[in-house]
């Protein structure tokens, strides 16, 4: 059985998906995140609140997500954060 992903790992996966597919649609992001719709909603709301991603809306009202500078910073620092957590048993 696959190991349950930790919170930070899920955030990293979502941010990577958003970074790799500029202006990704919510449905596509939901599929690539591999989360239940409720969990996905919670994570996306958290990422929006923390300004790691932003929501864009075109003239037709179609919504897409894109990564912010803070989101890029998180991905750059992810290894350090993960290392820190593992080395201090947190």
């Amino acid at each position: 059985m696959a190991k349950k992903r930790e919170r930070l790992e899920v955030i990293k996966d979502i941010l990577k998906a958003v970074r790799e597919n500029r202006n990704i649609k919510p449905t596509r992001l939901l599929y690539s995140s591999n989360l239940s719709p409720q969990m996905f909603k919670d994570y996306v709301n958290e990422l929006l609140k923390k300004e790691f991603i932003k929501m864009n809306e075109d003239e037709e009202g179609k919504k897409t997500f894109s990564i912010t500078t803070k989101g890029h910073e998180f991905l750059q620092e992810y290894k350090v954060i993960e290392n820190f957590i593992d080395n201090f048993g947190l």
Partner: protein
Amino acid sequence: MEIYNWVIQNKEMFKIFYGLIIALICFVIVLKTNRLFKLSFHQGIRYFRNAFFFYGIAFLFRYIFGALAFYGYITYQFWIKMLFEFFLVMGGFFLLYSLLWKKIEPEHKPFYSSLLNFNIVIFYLMAIVIVVLDYLWKSYSFMFISQIILFICMSIVTGIKIKKDKGKHKFLKFYFTAIILILVAWILNSALQFFAWSKGVLIDIYIINIIFFLLFLYSVIKITSK
């Protein structure tokens, strides 16, 4: 031995600087981990930082009031020791909790505040009880016993984590070493109450304490500067 005697003669002055050094080390750890916490909002990092924040406050407090007492502005009273003891005990609780929080709190819905939630309130109450008991008995025995139990628990928890880690993260061993060192320091500290050892032992305890904090500082700097 001469240096021991010299240090013992200037014990009060050294105690003040010792407090300042540890307070500075703690605040550097808190500052160095600030960015990681702000990006991750990881509860473990949060409790780890809280531990060093409380240790920092304890030693800063000791430094300020120790210096004031040393220069004769105030008399070193028991309430100062009580506050020092409270922050020190809380620092220990936070450090233990940083290792165990995942088993207690739901990871996806962390508590709103890391300083004031139900679990932490229990720690505050326990710390207050320890401080009050020591006040009533006019001793440090309850703090010593609590810290020895706490660091035995921490050494077991980190020992299990090292076994599971299989040597992938070398600083986990540093962590374990630091915990064992501080445990030895607490045992020596409590034994000093009952045995008439030379005052050199007290200096050894101070040195061990500084090494404990330096090991954490070194690990934090090494990991965060990668």
